[in-house]
Symmetry: C2
């Protein structure tokens, strides 16, 4: 397994020189694409789509057919892991994910066990292998998982929540129980990501969607500590190639230094954090990924191009050991006009060249 | 108008020595109190309650009758200002605030004008006067307003929003129109707060609930710049007493230094920011207000006491020019058990004494 023909994404994550800034988008295979909606309809439901390797492969490739993206990301859902733990994932129409058996009783928490990903999440591994075959060495494939705290939010709440009252009450009153859930879930996530790497994922990303809802001290103890443990256990080299790891805590802008210190190759940033400021804070240790406001894709084509350039400018001229992967600061909205994504991708590729190659960027030019 | 008998809150905001840390809670007069629900039922609706000075005074005083709070805050809604601008505020059952006439057309934005608060928001000024009379010099009364950007979010979206797509699209495509709205709204907010001060408010707070949803550069340009303009125009002394100003941007933890630089006396913090860290960053310039996670009030009484102590400990021992006002990091939840608030208030008053008076706090004691 050699490097893909286009390895710009992997090089940027490893802070190696590149000619332009690579780009992919969180949730790039999704509902804003009519062809995705068509495949999903054929699958019958979102969950059947996730569990069908052939269709998961099909939707993974759809955005790459439309746009000149520098990476593919496995199509799946972060809640497949708790589903494999037996919680009974389902999607109520218009209500988001739910669990039939939320984790609240002490006995159920004591009984919780990490699933064998090769057995209980076989469909994910099959999708990874199938996507790798279909990509045929063009661009790298990203595997992913939710963070233990983010998964625990859904597992304890039984679905989405506005204030995470149930899981936070457990945190305050029975931290031992929450730690038990996080401990098992961290084991499960490490095994799951390693299985994805063994099946062909060339980089992995951990999505900590809800860690930013915690007080700072609790973020360290209940989210970041488990991210660190996972990173420690990941396969970091496969077939002679480094497998980069990206950690993304939405709302984690206050904690960048501590996120950069857990051993990851790159840190994802939401759209509130200034990239230049983040680079000054942690850019000598990790690559940065992000961070256009997803809502900027609702602007006019000129507006999309301007806001895309603004993100590239905020990172600034690259040095010999800087790394930036362009992305949104959160998943793309289902209501995004698909043609705006072309503007974004083309602007990144064209405009970013001036920031690479060692020549200083002409001030104010575009 | 002398200082109130209990001026601990005002002294803490001005970073003057106090014997204990004063406490009040955002949304302390609200739905978690059965007596509030009873008065609201009598008023007929939330909006009738806001617009009836006698009943607004009644609910303002209710939490003070239950708890040993160090300040009262005017009972009102941040959307009274756009309502007075003619947008037609209403509350759809279970849906939150809505406007009959959202601000989207260029002609309507050009026609927007700041209302005379003494005429169009007379009911608020009457409530302020009535509350001051009823308080009878016991504790100070806080006046408040929403920030221009936060008000603009509701005005342009026509209600609440998950992603602020309409107002942000205006920001990206027609920043001139959004600046026009913010300009008029900043004028309206400054007039409104000054009228509250003239009617008897002894401190004022500006709630920037949605500024934290912006990219950093846009926060500076579209939210903070207008906060600064308002602060510049506020009456800062009344009857020989300083009128302190508090600014609170939810999700603004990354931008504390710039918030502290706009001329406010105090900066409000949400629960994600570590108070000790905030103190190191800006505590030499402003007082800090916050920041217990509102969800901590769902913990057991022991848990509430422990988390309350944790916040006090994170601020640490007071010096001669430090200021801390205890509060939640966001408004109290309507589902909060009222008896938990007693635990919080009593813990603040008792446990905080060791941090004042110059004596170092005994390590680890409680």
């Amino acid at each position: 397994m050699a490097r893909p023909k286009n390895d710009t994404f992997l090089r940027a994550l490893l802070r190696q020189p590149v000619d332009y800034t690579p780009v992919w988008l969180m949730r790039q295979a999704g509902r804003y694409l009519p062809e995705y909606c068509e495949t999903r309809k054929r699958a019958g439901s979102f969950l059947s789509l996730c569990k069908n390797p052939r269709l998961a492969c099909e939707v993974t490739l759809q955005p790459l057919a439309r746009y000149n993206l520098d990476a593919a990301i496995l199509f799946s859902d972060i809640l497949t892991v708790p589903d494999a733990m037996g919680l009974g994932l389902y999607f109520a129409e218009g209500e988001g994910p739910k669990f039939e058996r939320p984790l609240r009783e002490e006995w159920a928490i004591r009984d919780l066990a990490a699933p064998d990903p090769h057995a209980h999440l076989r469909y994910v591994m099959d999708a990874v292998s199938e996507i790798r075959r279909a990509l045929d060495g063009t661009v790298p494939l990203i595997g992913f998982s939710g963070s233990p705290f983010t998964l625990a939010c859904y597992m304890v709440e039984g679905g989405g929540s506005e204030d995470f009252r149930t899981v936070k009450t457990m945190l305050f009153d029975r931290p031992d129980l929450l730690h038990r859930i996080l401990d098992v879930t961290a084991r499960a996530v490490a095994d799951y990501l390693n299985a994805q790497i063994e099946s062909g994922a060339q980089a992995v990303m951990i999505f900590d969607t809800w860690g930013g809802a915690l007080p700072g001290w609790a973020y360290q103890e209940f989210s970041l500590a488990y991210l660190r443990r996972i990173v420690d256990e990941l396969i970091r080299e496969r077939d002679g190639e480094r497998v980069p790891v990206i950690a993304f805590t939405k709302g984690g802008g206050q904690w960048l230094e501590s996120i950069a210190a857990i051993g990851v190759d790159a840190v994802g940033l939401d759209w509130t954090t200034d990239l230049g400021e983040a680079r000054r804070r942690i850019g000598d240790r990790v690559a940065l990924q992000g961070n256009l406001d997803p809502v900027a894709l609702f602007a006019s084509p000129e507006g999309v191009a301007r806001e895309t350039r603004r993100v590239l400018e905020s990172f600034g001229a690259h040095g010999p050991h800087s790394g930036h992967v362009f992305n949104l600061g959160h998943g793309i909205s289902q209501f995004t006009p698909p043609e705006r994504v072309s503007v974004l991708v083309d602007t990144v590729h064209q405009f970013s060249r001036r920031f690479h190659g060692g020549a200083p960027a002409p001030a104010g030019s575009d």
